[in-house]
């Protein structure tokens, strides 16, 4: 994944809702649901079309107090899955 690309925002057919602290997504076009865990929810919140992949990694690393390299793979894997399942546009 190109770490310099900007990700998000979600396409119009994706509806998001908060379930306490976490986010769940509904793809109204395909009638599919994706329930995000806490980390994936944090990643999703940063997919606003303004941040690049690298910036999302840096922001989360700073928030969690861990080195960026420790979370880079998990963040990119999550973003790839969101794109693959069409909750984010490629």
């Amino acid at each position: 994944m190109d770490v310099r690309r900007r990700v998000g925002p979600a396409p119009a057919h994706v509806i998001e809702t908060e379930v306490k602290d976490d986010i769940s997504l509904f793809d109204a076009r395909r009638n599919q649901v994706l329930v995000l865990n806490a980390t994936a929810s944090d990643i999703w919140r940063l997919c606003d079309g303004e941040q690049t992949v690298d910036e999302i990694v840096e922001l989360l690393a700073s928030a969690y107090g861990v080195p960026a390299d420790d979370i880079r793979d998990e963040v990119t894997a999550t973003l790839e899955r969101l794109i693959e399942e069409e909750f984010l546009t490629p």
Partner: protein
Amino acid sequence: MWAAESHLRLLGTGFTVRCTSAAHADQVTSLLESFVAAPSGVPAKRRHPLIEARLRDTHAQPDQVILYRDCRRLGPAEAVDSALTRLVASLNRVAIESYAGFATHAGVVTRGDRAIALPAASGGGKSTLTTACLAAGLAYASDEALCVDPADGTVIPYPKPIALTARSLELLRVAPDAITVPVTGMDGLALPADLGADVAPDRLQLEHVVLSRFGDIGFELEEVAASEAMAALLTYSFNHYKLGETAFRLAAALATESRVWRMTYSDPRTAAQAIAELP
């Protein structure tokens, strides 16, 4: 030809049950009494499917019954107890399929007007755990489905007779002859009264969701994220694909308003005691 005919309504779907024997009609009435007394759900699409329970009165097979639904034979000539279990299964299937609200596989027990949902896959031990909860002092709402009215998110009791296997009775230390319809070739059927339990009389608010796993494992109970309930309610749903965004928003609201627990257990009675003591 018919000795008795009764009209029932389950989750908004109407049924007619006919019997050629008055004695069997009395058994059906007694078995379904608390089931049909539950508050009705939202109106269903199918209004009047016909279920007939018919006694086969041949000399060759006395006391045998054949069950028909919509004029289609559902099983062999069999003892009344087996036919009653088949009848309940058939009513249940049609009522759930026809239900226009949100329904998900779950046992449901209650404390006052608050519901505790026990979502699990079919065959995942819902009925056994639900029955253990009744023995632990909770009231009964369902061993089959958490049914929700999409208009206001309230839980509609669906107190069908509880289907139990011989293995379930053994785990629960319940005598085989202590339930209303004993285990035969089919599951037995227990009524809440068999266990000294009450039936939830009215609609409920969901308070807890317990995600349980039964097996040869130790007992553990921990509170987990609400999103786990969201995933379970949709994964085990009968009909979320029909409701689309409505089911998504309902599941989110139910998960948000509940406390959510993950539990592993090997003894349903230990698990039920813990459920009865949830804060």
